[in-house]
Amino acid sequence: MKRKSPLVRQSSETDFNNAMTPMIDVVFLLLVFFVWTASFQIVEYVLPSEMSAQMGNDEVQIDDPPPPSDFEDIVVRLRWAADTEQVQWSVNDQTLASLAAVGSKLQELVAVGADVTVILHPDPAVPLGYVIETYDQAKLKGFENVSFAVNPGR
């Protein structure tokens, strides 16, 4: 029976190792390259809120609730309950408990006309997250003009 000499076996092993090392190098480099290009950071998006000129110039009476029959503007109020740390919504003075309810109410109202202005009027203590989510709902339902009420006194 013919057997390979130890010298020949060693030589083929070296050959194999020599071939594997650069391949592993390149594979690892490619791996690192793709891991880095697929960024770990969450991508930020932009929510445009083009402000209307009336907002800064007019003394809008935001403290007075609008009359219920007035459907020219839809006023969405966000009230902050400090004791429960929860937000309470009201659309044209109709109190709603959840953001989903606000969404369905806005869905009904958008049928009247998508060009109706929606005014968001949050309490000063309402966290921005809720305000943006409500704004997002109004935009998703198809309202074109959604503006923020700002109290110039503060």
């Binding site: 070296t14 650069p22 390259f33 998006y45 083009e50 921005l128 305000v131 943006i132 503060r154």
Partner: protein
């Protein structure tokens, strides 16, 4: 004595592997360093969620980024700014860059709305109508 075959093969041409290694390393180095440089310029904030957020493709518009932390402190270009000084800053940038200035509000989702009112007011007073909010898309989270 038997001479290994691969030695003679090496002499045939330049070994490309180390060169590719080095080139890839350089590419990764520059990618990582530019990536980190961009990340460091952003203040770490828990932004609000919004499904209707759009991709930030417009890199040409001159922009003022106002960062608002949970405690309500405002930061522009790495420095705190008082609400009373916002209008002056906006006026200066608008005078320098023109009418198309954008104000990007990067606010923590837990910061109270009262903090953002002076920013929006200052924008209207300075005549800046292009105000945007930085958000995360809910589907990404």
């Amino acid at each position: 004595m038997q001479i290994p075959q691969h030695r003679s093969r090496q002499r045939d041409g330049i070994n490309m592997t180390p060169m590719i290694d080095v080139v890839f390393l350089l590419i990764i180095f520059f990618l990582v360093s530019s990536h980190l440089a961009r990340q460091e310029s952003r203040m770490e904030l828990e932004l609000p969620n919004a499904t209707s957020g759009q991709e930030d493709i417009d890199q040409e518009t001159p922009r003022i980024t106002v960062n608002v932390k949970v405690d309500g402190s405002m930061w522009i270009a790495g420095r705190t700014i008082k609400p009373a000084n916002l209008k002056q800053t906006f006026d200066e940038v608008r005078a320098r860059e023109g009418d198309g200035v954008e104000v990007r509000i990067r606010g923590s989702r837990m910061a109270p709305y009262a903090t953002f009112e002076p920013i929006m007011l200052a924008c209207t007073e300075a005549g800046i109508w292009n105000v945007t909010y930085a958000v995360y898309r809910e589907v990404d989270r």
